[in-house]
């Protein structure tokens, strides 16, 4: 499902600095996440969690090594093929990233519309996802009218409406209180039980203790432990 072999990521050096001055965000990562697994991604701020997730969501190519996601080798995949692959990956962010001018319903429908799904029947899928996320009463609201927890559940509904094989969450509970955080986690775990491969980056230790699962632990861009 996800295979990293000797992966390094170095951001471009700032202009005017000698080559190689760029900061190494990730170094020599080697691991495999089996299909249908649930993993925590742990580490301090700046340890490289977001960079690692960006590689997994095909938003960035590695500087070195092999990244294989959903059977595609990222360094050999042509740019034109990336959107179709990304449609099979769901992503949730700490800051929700809902489109502010679209209703909750239209936000959740957006991935389907981008994928060119015909309008007929599309809203039934959306309604089902909204029910799953406990948001059927908020479908017509704009994101700004929702609480943080509701916004994140809307974002989660949007991330899974395409039934992705891989679901990535970058600090999904970072802006939420404990009760809302547990609710998000329960939904992520439910996706996992339905067979989705799930990776959740966090530094909320209490949450990790409440939902024990294997973990990838990063420190300074290197993998400290796996499992």
């Amino acid at each position: 499902m996800v295979r990293f072999a000797g992966v390094g990521l170095r951001y471009a050096e700032p202009p005017g600095r000698p080559p190689g001055a760029g900061q190494a965000a990730l170094q020599d990562l080697t691991f495999t996440l089996p299909s249908g697994s649930f993993h925590w991604l742990l580490g301090e701020s700046g340890a490289g969690k977001s960079s690692l997730l960006r590689l997994m969501q095909l938003a960035q190519r590695p500087t070195s090594g092999v990244v294989e996601v959903l059977g595609a080798d990222l360094s050999r995949t042509r740019r034109r093929a990336l959107p179709a692959l990304r449609r099979r990956i769901g992503v949730v962010w700490q800051d929700f990233r809902l489109l502010p001018h679209l209703s909750v319903r239209d936000n959740v429908a957006l991935p389907l519309r981008i994928a060119g799904r015909p309008e007929a029947g599309l809203l039934a899928d959306v309604a089902e996802m909204l029910r799953w996320a406990g948001l059927d009463a908020r479908a017509d609201s704009l994101p700004a009218a929702l609480s943080g927890g509701e916004q994140q559940r809307a974002a989660l509904a949007r991330a899974v409406v395409m039934r992705p094989a891989l679901l990535l969450a970058d600090e999904p509970t970072g802006n939420l209180d404990a009760a809302q955080a547990r609710r998000i986690l329960a939904l992520l775990q439910e996706m996992h039980r339905l067979g989705t491969t799930v990776v959740v980056a966090t530094h909320a230790d209490a949450l990790v203790r409440a939902f024990p699962a294997p973990a990838l632990r990063l420190q300074g861009g290197r993998l400290m432990s796996h499992g």
Binding site: L85, R87, L99, P100, R113, I114, L142
Partner: protein, 220 residues
């Protein structure tokens, strides 16, 4: 109001229509050409959807060059081009060409700024959903920037009203030209005052309409 003869009334009305035509047509052209330029500037810029410095740089310089040329000079300098497009170098139609050119460059920058206001996180989210670059532009970037784009059009329309007053220099007519020819050159301050009052009302109307539209779109 004895000075407001029927002839003068006709002249005022005609001048108003000329101003409306010059502002309306050149604004429509400026939106149609300025938006693609702004999108190109935005997506080819550093950190854009397709960074292309070889395209971004010259385009930016071109836009700046038009913007930094004083309008009265621009109008005279492009007379050969105006003749090519409008078939003549004097009159209302001829005035529209330099007005449209100046407004296009102006709007391209204002539009670019409005596009830059769109939250980068939302764009990244659209990319993660598997949106192509075209889909990101038309389904996310433009709809999200719409209130800002409308506000930019309002600013451009108001500036165009001012620019159109200079169109008298190429016989473009309009309210500004009437004010100069009658109010100043024929010593009729009442005409000047009427023209200025009409322009103030016109600009107020444009601004209110623009603000109303922006409010409506932002609340959506």
């Amino acid at each position: 109001m004895s000075w407001l003869t029927p002839t003068l009334q006709d002249l005022l009305l005609e001048a108003f229509w000329e101003t409306l035509a010059m502002v309306g047509v050149s604004a429509a052209i400026a939106v149609a050409i300025g938006l693609p330029i702004a999108l190109l500037l935005h997506v080819t810029g550093r950190g854009g959807l397709s960074p292309l410095p070889w395209l971004h740089r010259p385009l930016g310089i071109l836009v700046n060059a038009v913007r930094s040329t004083p309008f009265i000079i621009l109008m005279v300098a492009i007379i050969p081009f105006t003749r090519l497009v409008a078939g003549t170098s004097i009159g209302t139609a001829a005035a529209i060409v330099p007005l449209a050119l100046a407004a296009t460059a102006f709007l391209a920058r204002l539009f670019e700024n409005a596009l830059r206001e769109v939250d980068g996180g939302v764009v990244e989210a659209a990319r993660a959903m598997g949106a192509s670059r075209m889909q990101i532009v038309w389904k996310v970037l433009v709809p999200e920037a719409l209130p800002g784009l409308i506000a930019a059009v309002t600013v451009a329309l108001v500036s165009l009203v001012g620019f159109s007053a200079m169109a008298g220099a190429v016989g473009g007519g309009g309210l500004g030209d009437l004010g100069i020819r009658f109010g100043y050159q024929r010593f009729m301050p009442e005409v000047m005052a009427t023209v200025v009052l009409l322009l103030i009302l016109f600009v107020q109307g444009l601004q209110s309409l623009g603000d109303w539209l922006v409010r409506r779109l932002s609340r959506r």
